[in-house]
Symmetry: C2
Subunit: 508 residues, 2 copies
């Protein structure tokens, strides 16, 4: 068996299938290496099959022992984890205080997108989605485990998470969909019996994303529901969380989003969320990134279990421009997971221009935060990126890829907002981004002019240091050399919106 560090060791076992194997039996494995020893839960995958998945964090020999009430037997074995290959840099963790990095130290710049239920669509649509993802626009995909019921997102998913019968939708239309919200009559589910077919769909999606080097930001709970999955009793919620960590914890690309728009799950209290967070944290031995996404009010991101802020705009007008304040307030990386969608939706959050969404992403970036992509174009086939994936129709996606190229050129692990100097080395009204790490001080500056259109800009860092200047057009995705300079000088600018100036200290 060929396993690599941060890859997945998976083993299946036949076990007891009488009663309810999801609740009546358990399986766990202990994996031992000279540098770690980890016990992980396995899960029942139907038809008498139990599975254990494990992610080795070291190269070298692992011994394991698998046991549990699922079987009278105790299974033992060994494998050797080889060197990571290809785009395998390990799981993403917080780097320093405000940035992210893969386990091997490679910086991670979070430029994600959202397709809430892309893998629960028919196969041809799923393939279209992956064809877009292969273009390298994004390095994170936010999507829901549970199916979604919402305007423009009304057909049944490819499968359901539990055994049972869904509400009858023969009379469901766009005009009456909100009457189905929540848990209308007709649903009949056994929340104690997961549907393995449903989760196998998610398995394949997480795996394919991993192979593409794309993080899977798994949304565990959300309110857009007509099946009652958002209104399960707490004991079912907690069982579901444990099933998720057992099933997906070994995928290096997994992030946990405890909820999307948590406030809209009106039946869950703060105590409930904290209890679920505690179970999530305790049952994930790998410590994947964890957050919870808001609708109109931020969750208290200072809670210790939260690794990074996952923000939706709370203000329609000013969003990512507050990134520096949020970094300071919560002391954690700031990821804007929804600030609006490029599109032509009737809902106000879904008809941004590509220019405005791109601008909001840059406003986050220059302040040492990250902003995700989203797209909501009405379509005759009712396949909309935001919910279904499919084909991208807008203009933003390549601009996110351009951001990634830009970020890879930053010294160290990302940017932060610099101080505009009192002595007007930069203008008082400029926004200057500098490397996050002080060790790179003076090596790199990026001035971003946002909606403003200065025709030229006076630059002065100091008298002695040579810098290569470049004009960056973040909308047209061009980088134009603007000479090597020191002292005080003036750079001519195109006089259009969304322009920046990059200064890189010359290497001797």
């Amino acid at each position: 068996m060929l396993i690599e560090k941060w890859g997945i060791f998976e083993q299946s076992f036949h076990g007891k299938s009488d009663g309810n194997p999801f609740t009546d039996y358990e399986i766990h494995g202990t994996f031992t290496h000279e540098k770690e020893s980890l016990t992980v839960d396995g899960f029942y995958d139907g038809e008498g099959i139990y599975r254990i998945r494990f992610m080795p964090s070291y190269e070298g020999e692992y011994h394991y022992q698998v046991s549990g009430t699922f079987s009278e037997e105790i299974y033992t074995g060994a494998f050797t984890a080889g060197a990571p290959s290809g785009n395998n840099h390990g799981p993403v963790h917080v780097y320093g205080q405000y940035q992210l990095a893969y386990a091997d130290g490679t910086p991670h710049y979070s430029l994600g997108t959202t397709c809430y239920t892309f893998d629960l669509q028919k196969e041809s649509v799923v393939e279209e989605t992956f064809a877009e993802l292969e273009k390298g626009y994004f390095n994170k995909m936010r999507f829901c485990i549970m199916p979604k019921h919402y305007d423009f997102c009304l057909h049944d998913p490819a499968a359901f998470p539990f055994e049972g019968t869904p509400v009858d939708t023969s009379a469901l239309t766009r005009d009456n969909f909100s009457q189905y919200n929540g848990n209308p009559p007709g649903n009949d589910w056994d929340f104690t019996r997961f549907n393995p077919v449903f989760f196998q769909i998610h398995d394949r999606a997480v795996q394919r994303l991993m192979e593409l080097g794309i993080e899977a930001d798994l949304i565990l709970f959300h309110a857009y529901d007509r099946w009652g999955f958002s209104q399960m009793p707490m004991k079912d919620n907690l069982r579901y969380i444990r099933y998720m960590t057992a099933r997906y914890g070994a995928y290096r690309n997994v992030w946990w989003a405890l909820a999307n728009e948590y406030e809209l799950l009106g039946n869950l209290s703060s105590e409930d969320w904290e209890q679920m967070a505690a179970v999530l944290t305790a049952s994930d031995p790998y410590g994947h990134l964890r957050s919870i996404h808001n609708c109109e009010t931020f969750y208290d991101y200072s809670k210790p279990w939260i690794t990074h802020c996952s923000c939706q705009r709370c203000d329609h007008y000013k969003t990512t421009e507050t990134t520096s304040e949020l970094r300071k307030l919560y002391g954690k990386p700031v990821v804007w997971d929804e600030v609006g969608y490029e599109g032509d939706f009737p809902h106000c959050w879904g008809n941004f221009t590509a220019e405005e969404l791109t601008r909001r992403a840059w406003e986050a970036l220059i302040r040492g935060g990250y902003c995700g992509h989203g797209e909501t174009f009405l379509s005759s086939d009712n396949i909309i990126w935001w919910c279904h994936g499919g084909r991208l129709k807008g203009e933003c996606a390549p601009r996110f890829r351009f951001m990634m190229e830009f970020l890879k050129d930053v010294p160290g692990h990302g940017l932060k907002e610099g101080n505009v100097r009192d002595d007007l080395h930069f203008q008082w009204d400029d926004k200057v981004a500098v490397p996050e790490e002080d060790s790179y001080e003076g090596e790199y500056y990026f001035l971003y002019f946002s909606i403003w259109r200065p025709p030229f800009r006076q630059i002065y860092v100091d008298d002695d240091t040579w810098y290569d200047a470049e004009i960056i057009d973040t909308w047209n995705m061009t980088v134009t050399p603007a000479g090597r300079h020191k002292g005080k000088y003036e750079l001519k600018l195109p006089g259009t919106q969304y322009i920046g100036i990059r200064l890189k200290k010359c290497k001797d």
Copy 2:
């Protein structure tokens, strides 16, 4: 002598010219009508001439008596104030709590512009400015009494406010202008001796604006100075304020702006400003509108002497969208006198697109506030509207005139932000403007979509009331009828930015 109500009665008198007539002598007049009796100060206008100006607030016979130390004589006389004619609606005052109206009750929607020193330019430029103003784009002009020294605004004014000698500017350039800031050596002024020629220039400007129906928002102090006028001793400041009220109080179109960017006058304390405000208030018997304009921090607009907020944006991104909060905080009309300038200036406040400045103006308007215009296009002749007036080069001005036409169609005295109803009669994310006065409730709605581009919008006010719907394109300045409706219906929209929907209740 033909005088009309809210017109100007002016009489000149020969008097003593020995010593310093500006400080050694005074002149005042008492004007008596059956409904009012007002004593006003006159002023010395040079060459032995003293003047009294008076604005009658009633029609009918006035008797006056003019006396003072300027002369041994006591002058008496009478005149009859006739009915106001033409565009004479009287001075503008606060109407209700948040709106403005002329003395005859006509609503005043403040849509101003700023040309800081337009009347101190050469005659051909002044004529160009008035030619633009005659097009009816604006109904207020903000400008400075004192000349201005600033980037792109460096030549000497047509005259100086005091007797004396200005700093030598033969070596002044754009690159070194900030070295002249304040009161550099070479200035030699007698602050006790006003220069009548200088104020006669302002007299003509205020008069011509009045004839065009344009309010004159007179800025008394500002920091952009190379002559020391921003650093006069307090006793000189107070004398100057009294001279201003004596000279300009009788013009019905005068508003007092105690300062532009008050914080930048670093030598003046809060107590100083309050003392100057007290003198301004006490010496203006007509109670013209009074405010004080900020740079980065609002003055405390709750001070009793302040009639309305005169705001500059404190945040680069979010400005007029906070109008409702400011109305609530200060309980007064909100006028945004600087939120940015359409243009291609190097300074970030001066290179807004026309679309963005227009949008900011509408964001104020739909919340029951008002936003002024400004323009800063670089020009080979160095004549820039913001400072010098001249010719308008941008695209905003006609859009402000369109706003005025829009506002004249609102029932009552203006708009305020409406409540988006819980029952989703309008969408939760819509911004709805309704008439300020409750007596017009239900008669008029205006939904404004700002940067967003909904392709259609569902509308529902109630089941029974018929409304005429119109699609308003605030950028292209079009009003397109969209049918007569009641109950629930859907309106198709152009899918572009800066669109609104106006609903007017049908008259039976």
